[in-house]
């Protein structure tokens, strides 16, 4: 199992009022930390319930979006070609967003890489080790243009046999939905292994301090950021590797092979879904184009090459 690329570090001393829970969800360890402070009677129970609901969203999003469960909504969609399929709000919005990022990044980010991922031996759920193989007639190459949305009837139509991979959207989305549950408490952190949201300030009353992992040296940080009310996501080539040829888990959808030239991408944005998707897109685009994408969409980011060169947006200095 890989170590977290980012972590609110070091978790500062906690008062007794702090509430901190960890659960294994979506193939990673999700930690929720609500900072204490003055509490009215009964508020402790409310916090517990809110944290429970926050975790609940991870399960809900995974159930809908996982590639590793033939019965998930996204996998049931894959078996139907040329048929408009009515889907849940969750799936519709997630796919709509993924397609928008695909368009915005010129296909560098593409949610239709699911089958290519599967054939390249990224077909195991890391938690259970469960393997999935889908019979698809995928002789022709597919792209995000093969997915049609109908906003009126809320349907998705696949024009070719394909598997949607919402991996770069789902985890961020779950973090954002959990964030909405915890927003009322102002000061909190959600850490879902590489996708974080930091609300308000840490127990010391300061902005949360986030360590960015060194892409080549384990247990070492290459940078640290101070953020408040922002999502931070890092994507690294050290995360998961194919059992076939040791290539890493981010594919260039336009070429069908893993990308070289970037070791890790960190994005700071208003929500984790956006940060995660753009980190993946920038990974494929490469450092220079990646930074241009961030600037155009007004998010901030840090891209590190395998040679440890750093590319940053101008706004990143705010998080020092």
């Amino acid at each position: 199992m890989h170590s977290p690329m980012l972590s609110p570090q070091p978790y500062p001393k906690r008062s007794n009022n702090d509430l901190r829970r960890s659960l294994a969800l979506m193939g990673t360890v999700v930690t929720v930390h609500v900072v204490g402070g003055e509490q009215a009677p009964g508020e402790t129970a409310q916090r517990e319930r809110a944290v429970e609901r926050a975790f609940g969203w991870f399960g809900g999003v995974e159930e809908c979006c996982t590639r590793f469960e033939p019965e998930s909504e996204v996998m049931r969609l894959a078996s139907q070609v040329d048929v408009p399929v009515q889907v849940s709000t969750l799936l519709y919005e997630a796919v709509q967003f993924a397609l928008a990022v695909a368009e915005e990044s010129g296909g560098a980010f593409d949610p239709t890489v699911g089958y290519a991922m599967e054939t390249r031996a990224f077909n195991r759920e890391h938690r259970s080790g469960k393997k999935i193989e889908t019979a698809l007639d995928a002789s022709t190459s597919v792209s995000y243009r093969d997915v049609r949305l109908d906003p009126q009837n809320r349907t998705i139509t696949l024009l070719r046999p394909l598997i949607l991979d919402l991996g770069a959207v789902a985890k961020g989305l779950a973090v954002d939905l959990a964030t909405r549950e915890l927003q009322r408490f102002q000061n909190f952190a959600i850490d879902a292994g590489g996708d974080l949201y930091l609300g308000g300030s840490n127990p010391d009353g300061e902005p949360w301090s986030i360590g960015v992992r060194h892409p080549r040296r384990e247990n070492e940080l290459i940078d640290s950021l101070r953020v408040s009310n922002r999502a931070v996501c890092t994507s690294g080539d050290y995360e998961r590797r194919s059992s076939l040829d040791n290539s890493h888990h981010i594919l260039d959808p336009r070429r069908g092979s893993s990308v070289e030239g970037v070791a890790s991408v960190t994005v700071v944005a208003s929500n984790a879904m956006l940060a995660d998707a753009l980190a993946t897109a920038a990974f494929v685009l490469g450092p220079a184009e990646g930074i241009r994408l961030f600037d155009r969409l007004s998010v901030d980011g840090l891209i590190i090459t395998p040679q440890l060169e750093r590319y940053v947006t101008r706004g990143m200095s705010e998080y020092r």
């Binding site: 129970a45 609940g56 967003f97 928008a100 906003p151 989305l173 009322r184 208003s270 879904m273 956006l274």
Partner: protein
């Protein structure tokens, strides 16, 4: 703008247009007819205007590129959250499991002071009641002294202790205080005692019931449970309300 306001505006414009056409030769009939047409257009526009369609139009694929991804992603998160994938009121479920465990606890609490030393009974009972009585100066705990036989009967079903219980629930746009009255072990009334949300609590608890609007306090009495419907367009407030009721009822179990 509200649909009814638009419609009213259209009617006023139409009347004004008619009066111009009839009574102002200087302005001429043409101007009058133009105003009437404008009013008709306004009225026609208001009728099929569906808020969901309007929303779709704004974030639909045709304008996707021009809209920033920041807006699109925030809108998506809000839409999914509002649709509530998993929220079949886990707060209420949790409360149910608490309630199931509760009867045995009640018996233990009642039996032990009766067998051992009665004086400890009074402080423990009053301390559990303080959160309610502190906020509400009118004490309403008539049946505070439980006969040993009574709780044993109540072990078969959830029975609350009589009294008035106050509790808060909060959401990102404010707090709601609910007061729940328990009589004869049942929820006799529930109402929003303080509404400190940015939006009116009339969306979840209309002042005059029966207007077709969702009435969450009545649902609590009907269902004898904090499991209320979540009101579309006021989900946060509904949630705060349900939280508050669950909190108040858990006090009534102690």
């Amino acid at each position: 703008m509200d649909k009814s306001t638009l419609l009213l505006l259209a009617v006023i414009l139409a009347v004004f247009g008619a009066s111009v056409a009839a009574g102002h030769p200087a302005w001429g009939t043409f101007t009058g007819i133009a105003i009437i047409l404008l009013a008709a257009g306004l009225a026609a526009g208001t009728l099929p205007l569906d808020s969901q369609a309007y929303f779709d139009e704004r974030i639909g694929p045709s304008q996707r590129i021009s809209n920033s991804l920041i807006t699109l992603s925030s809108a998506a998160i809000v839409a999914i959250y509002a649709a509530g994938y998993h929220r079949t009121s886990p707060a209420a479920h949790r409360f149910d499991s608490q309630a199931l465990q509760q009867p045995t606890a009640t018996i233990a609490a009642v039996v032990s002071p009766a067998t051992a030393n009665p004086p400890t009974n009074t402080p423990s009972a009053s301390s559990s009641a303080t959160p309610a009585t502190k906020k509400n100066p009118r004490p309403t705990a008539p049946a505070r002294k439980p006969a040993p036989a009574k709780p044993v009967e109540s072990a078969t079903q959830t029975r609350y202790k009589d009294g008035v219980y106050l509790a808060w629930g909060s959401c990102p746009h404010g707090d709601i205080e609910v007061s729940v009255v328990i009589q004869d072990g049942k929820i006799a009334s529930s109402l929003i005692s303080q509404c400190l949300t940015r939006y009116s609590c009339g969306w979840i608890a209309p002042k005059t019931p029966g207007g077709g609007l969702p009435d969450l306090p009545s649902q609590v009495i009907e269902r004898q449970s904090p499991k209320v419907d979540y009101v579309s367009g006021a989900t946060e407030s509904s949630y705060a309300f349900a939280d508050a009721v669950a909190a108040a009822l858990s006090k009534a179990l102690q």
